[in-house]
Amino acid sequence: MGVLSDKLEMGVWPTAFANDDLYWVIYTGAIVQFFPLRGAMTNTHANYIVVVKRDCPTCVLVEPVLAQLQATGCNLQVWSQDDPTFPETVTDVGDDSNLEQSWILKIETVPTVIRMEEGAESERTVGWDRSEWLRLFEQDELVAELPDFRPGCGSKSVEPGMPEKLALRFGDISLQSRQIVVGDMEDAMESCFERGWSDGLPVVPPTQLRVVRMLAGTNRDPAEVLGEVPPDLQPCTVEKVAINAVMAGCKPEYLPVVIAAVEACLIDAFCMHGLLATTWFSGPMVIVNGPIARAIGMNSGGNALGQGNRANATIGRALQLVIRNVGGGKPGGVDRATLGNPGKYTFCFAEDEESSCWESLAVQRGFKPEQSTVTLFAADGVQGIADQKSRDPESLCRSLAASLLTVGHQKFAVHSDVFIVLVPEHQRIFADAGWSKQKVIDTLMELTTRPGSELQPGVGGIAEGMPEFVKDMQLPKFKPGGLNIVRAGGTAGLFSAIIPGWLASGDFGSSPVSKEIVI
C-alpha cells in the first residue's frame, strides 16, 4: 500500500474502479495494488455511528456505555481515530487512523454519536450527555454510575492543518494546474530558481497542500478567471494567484488582498503592460485601506515602507510573481527597465487611517470606510523630504512643493503623478491649523504651477525641457487628481516621503486604480 499511497500523496491520481468492496487500482497500465473500497468497512446498515479516540478521557469514560449498547443488540459502528484496539470491550471497531470516515462524517468533537435512518444521518450529539444519549439510543438507563455530563475532546480530523490534508486526500478538490514532479536528487528551493519562478529571492515551494491551504483564504472558486495577465495575456485563475502567493510567502488570509491587487493591475487604466515594458523605474505599488489591513496585521506605522512585516512584504511580492510567472513579464524580456527600483521586488503598505485627521485614500476614491480596498500606483522609489523647522502649513507646503518640483525632472510638468506619504508629525501641523486634505492638495498644486517659459530647453544651461508650444502657458506640475496624499509612518520624525510615478501618466500611460477586496 505504501507505494500507491506515495503516488496519491504526489497527486498522481490513478484510475480506480469500484467493484463490490474493492478498488482495483490501475496505475500506468498495471494493477499494482488492491485497496479496500472507501467505506467498505462501514456497517452501512448500522443504526448508529460513534467516532472516538483513545486520547480522549470522555471517550474512555463512555467505553462501558458502548459495550453495554452493543451487548444489548444495538446495531453500532464505532470508528477509532488513534487506536483500532480501542475500545477493547467493543467488537468490530473500525480503524479510522487515516481519518477518512471522520472527514466524511464532518466530525469536530469526539465522541460523536450519529443516528442513522435509512442510510442517512437523522441527528447527532457530541461529548457525553446522559439525557441526550438516552434519547438518541431510546434507552431508560446507561451505566448509571457515570456522571451525567462530560464535554468531548477535539477530533483529530480538525487539528491545525489537518482539514486541508484530508480534503486533498479524500475530497473532491480539483486543482487545474500542471503538476511538476521534482526529482529525488533535486533541492526543492533550488528547483524553483532553476525553473525561472523566482524574482531572485528564495520562494516557498508551491506544493499541493500549501496551495490548498492558501485557497482556504478565499471563498472564490479556484477556477475563476480574473483576467489576462500581460505581457503574454495569459488567463489568470484564482488558483494561479494562490500558487504565486504561496511562493511569495503569503498567509492564506492575505490571499483576498493579492487577488484584488491582481484584479486592479488588470484594469485597463492601470496599463500594466506598458508599466512592465517601460525603461523607466516604475512598478506597481499597493496601498491597502480598510479593516482588512488591521486584521491581517499590515504595517502602516514605523518603517511602513521598509522591510519586516510579512503581509506588506509578501502581498506586493505575490503581485510581482503573478506578472512574472503567469504573464511572463521578466527583466530582459518585456521588462525593459534601465535601472528598475527595489520596489519591484515588493512595494505594499497600509494607510494609517485610525490616527489620521483626514478621510482615507479609499474614501476619497469613493469607497466606504468599512470597505477594504487596494489602490495601485505605478511607482518609482522613495524620495525623502525633510522639514524639521516648519510649524505652519504655509511653510510646510512650500517645503513640500520645492521637493515635488524635482519629480521626473525639475523642468517637467504634467508628466508623473505622485503620492505623498505624510508622516504623523507633518500631518499634525495641518491638523492643528484645521486644514483639510483637499486644501493641502490645492495649495501644493498652486505652488507647483510655473510659467512654461521657465521650463524651456536651454533655460538654466540645461538642454532638457518642455516643448515650445507651452512657453506662454501656466503649467501645473501635476495634472488634476495626479497629486495624492496618504498618511503612514512612525510617530517620530519630520520626514515625509514623495513617491513619484511613471512619466507616462493618465490616459497616455497609467492612472492609479482601486479595487474592493472580496473575501
Binding site: 506515495d6 494546474s177 503538476q179 488558483e239 511572463g328
Partner: protein, 92 residues
C-alpha cells in the same frame, strides 16, 4: 521523497527545466573544450580543436583536476566568462 509542485506559470513552456539557448552560429564565438581527465579524452578534444580551428572558431582548453569530482567552481566560472559554449569530453 519525490515532491510535486503546482506550476505557477501559464504553462506555455515544457514542464521540464529549459536548456540554455543553443548557439545559432559559431561565427565569432569562443568554444571551451573541457577535458575531465579521463584517458583518451584528449584524443577527441584535439580533433575537435582541429575542426573548430579549420572553421575559424577560437578555442580554449580546460581540464578538471580529476574525473571523479565535479569541476571546481573557479573552472566553471572561468569557462562561463571566457566562452560562448563548452564541449565536455566524457572519454574512455
Amino acid at each position: 521523497m519525490t515532491e510535486v509542485f503546482l506550476d505557477p506559470t501559464a504553462e506555455l513552456s515544457a514542464a521540464s527545466k529549459a536548456l540554455l539557448p543553443r548557439l545559432a552560429t559559431l561565427e565569432g564565438k569562443t568554444i571551451g573544450l573541457l577535458d575531465i581527465n579521463k584517458p583518451r579524452g584528449d584524443v577527441l578534444l584535439d580533433r575537435l580543436e582541429q575542426l573548430f580551428a579549420a572553421e575559424g572558431v577560437s578555442v580554449r582548453r580546460y581540464a578538471k583536476p580529476t574525473m571523479t569530482r565535479v569541476a571546481p567552481l573557479e573552472t566553471k566560472q572561468q569557462i562561463a566568462m571566457e566562452c560562448d559554449a563548452v564541449v565536455e569530453a566524457l572519454a574512455d
